[in-house]
Symmetry: C2
Subunit: 180 residues, 2 copies
DNA sequence: GAGGCCATGTAATGAGTTACATGATTAT
DNA sequence: ATAATCATGTAACTCATTACATGGCCTC
């Protein structure tokens, strides 16, 4: 069984599969957009996990650089483990999205406040969508393997913000109905 | 400043604002769909948090029932706190969504495997969308204040799954391009 | 009276964040 | 030289899950 909750290790294996990297570089790849839609991690969690993965033979040091830099690459065992996980059933664990939570709790606001919030939200989502669309085009133009996951993430964001806009508009019509 | 990471307390305040409830009932309201898109919590985390909120005067016992049941309602202080939080800037903390993470890491699969996974995914999202659409209609028909947040959650799910479908189809066309 | 659900709680463990800490290299 | 960034690490704390634990009420 895949113990789920081990998502961080698979995130690391997956990113290293795109291209070898150091803990520092991995931290940056998370910040390239993955942390917004899928998973986030700080260096303080990444470094120890890399050591663990190395100890289990799933990754290995493939190069050393200045300032004690250690670049890791996935081993065959690591790649096999990652593939197994990707092809296994997702664990359907509880999502955590504070942003969406706020939206669900809006009934605590007055009608005017809620309308204002949703209108702002819709505009915000539109702006984010435009920005991400540009980012996708830019990342794609670079044609770099390390950017595969970030491009997917950004494009997912484009659709996710579209969903938020549609949803916000739906709620606005619901609120209008109730006011009658 | 709102310490973010306190999302659970606001989830509880928000749910109690829809209608008073016991810890047990709150656990069930999370399971009604909020846990899938926004936030999840187990009873073992909910009960202590309710005690804390009570200690801070943000909620109060509004009724007792059989088997030691304690129903809580939000106090004025609690409602004020919740409103402040809802109207404050979201903390934009890292989202955690294992499902989406898997999608980002798909480059570790062969082209055939990826195509298969995305096709399955698209179908799955379609089925979920249909189910949730039905659920929204059913919940709305009940016209019950405690269902406000769950209805919003379900409708959000409808749009979120739509986004996943669109995204999956986009990735499929990208993969087709690369194969040429 | 047995089985299922209602109802609450605590302890142990694991995951994740914040803060603390250090030092090397590079660019200005 | 000095500031920014690269690069790694550990400790303390908080948040969250799993497992353990108990007992009442209701239906059959």
């Amino acid at each position: 069984m895949y113990d789920d909750a081990m998502a961080l290790r698979y995130a690391l294996l997956g990113l290293l599969n795109d291209a070898p990297a150091s803990g520092y570089e991995l931290t940056q790849r998370f910040a390239l957009g993955i942390d917004r839609y899928a998973w986030s991690a700080k260096h303080s969690q990444i470094y120890p996990e890399l050591r663990k993965l190395e100890g289990e033979g799933l990754i290995e040091v493939v190069g050393e650089g200045a300032r004690g830099k250690r670049s890791y690459g996935v081993t065959e065992a690591g790649r096999a483990r990652l593939r197994d996980w990707l092809l296994s059933e997702p664990s359907a664990k509880g999502t955590r999205n504070e942003f969406v939570l706020r939206l669900f709790l809006m009934s605590a606001l007055t009608n005017e406040e809620a309308v204002q919030l949703l209108t702002d939200l819709s505009k915000f989502a539109e702006a984010e969508q435009a920005e991400l669309t540009a980012k996708v085009a830019e990342l794609q133009a670079r044609d770099d393997a390390t950017l595969t996951a970030p491009v997917f993430a950004a494009q997912y964001g484009v659709h996710a913000y579209g969903a938020i806009r549609e949803w916000a508009n739906w709620v606005l019509t619901e609120l209008a109905k109730k006011r009658d």
